[in-house]
Assembly symmetry: C2
Homo-oligomer: 167 residues x 2
């Protein structure tokens, strides 16, 4: 009888522990899902002419929808990916919605980007932005248009430049 | 001895169950927190001259940071709250980041807004936007500036108008 009771106790404990850990697994799956869902769809792969690493761009507003003033898009940088150096003839605004990364103007210290960061990029300033090595970065970009152009692309950010920012 | 074993088993089961439900409580608290945190801070109460109900506005970019082109802000509408009717002299873009609500141009059917909705509002079109009755709405607004103005405010949306949209 003593042995039967022990066995019964073990069975009950095992059931409770398995049920508990199953619930936690479901919670974790839901959390991962929730966290990986950005506000907008992922969009299309960014061109390797303009980006290093895995980047996706989702167009949200075309200039012809809004008096030719700007385009709006969501850019998703996987860990370690980034834009080339570039300039905007009429400036750009970045609104960071997820993750962690960097914004750097040529010759200046980099600025850390996290969820909620806002950057108003002046016109004609050479700069790059992208994810940190360990974490992806998602931002909305409002790219102002001048003479039918919103960006002038330059050289890729090399490993030495990136490593000096994300040490 | 049989009684001691039963007591021991009960004690172990209770400990496991309590520990399990505590973990779940913590997970739930974290989830609730995660879901209620918008991308940007809530900001300041919106003026009752321009909104009906509880609305908060967080300024993100001023026109003087971006060549005078536009302002950018986050607007949070609690359930049932909305803008007055209004027009924009150079248009506006809405990017919905959370919740559910409505956009309506004068004389047209309302358009449902959910997370991920994008609206490019033409210049000089009378319209309103706001939350549904049951769910809050959070959107980013890019408000284009013309002659130092981004909006002309008109009459509040009356209950009949709102009820005919959110039935």
């Amino acid at each position: 009888m003593k042995r039967k009771t022990k066995l019964l106790a073990l069975l009950i404990i095992s059931t409770v522990v398995i049920s508990c850990s199953n619930n936690q697994k479901e919670e974790e799956d839901m959390n991962t899902n929730e966290k990986s869902l950005s506000v907008f769809p992922l969009g299309d792969p960014g061109s390797s002419d303009w980006f290093t690493g895995e980047v996706h761009v989702q167009g949200l507003v075309n200039p012809d929808q809004i008096e030719g003033l700007y385009s709006v898009g969501q850019v998703t940088f996987e860990p370690g990916s980034k834009t080339n150096w570039h300039t905007h003839p009429a400036g750009q605004v970045l609104l960071v919605t997820e993750g962690r990364g960097w914004y750097q103007e040529r010759g200046k210290p980099a600025q850390e980007l996290i969820k909620g960061s806002v950057v108003a990029i002046p016109k004609d300033i050479e700069h790059w932005h992208g994810a940190s090595k360990e974490t992806k970065l998602v931002h909305i970009a409002i790219s102002n248009v001048k003479d039918n152009s919103a960006v002038t692309w330059l050289a890729p950010v090399n490993d030495e430049e990136y490593d000096s920012v994300d040490k």
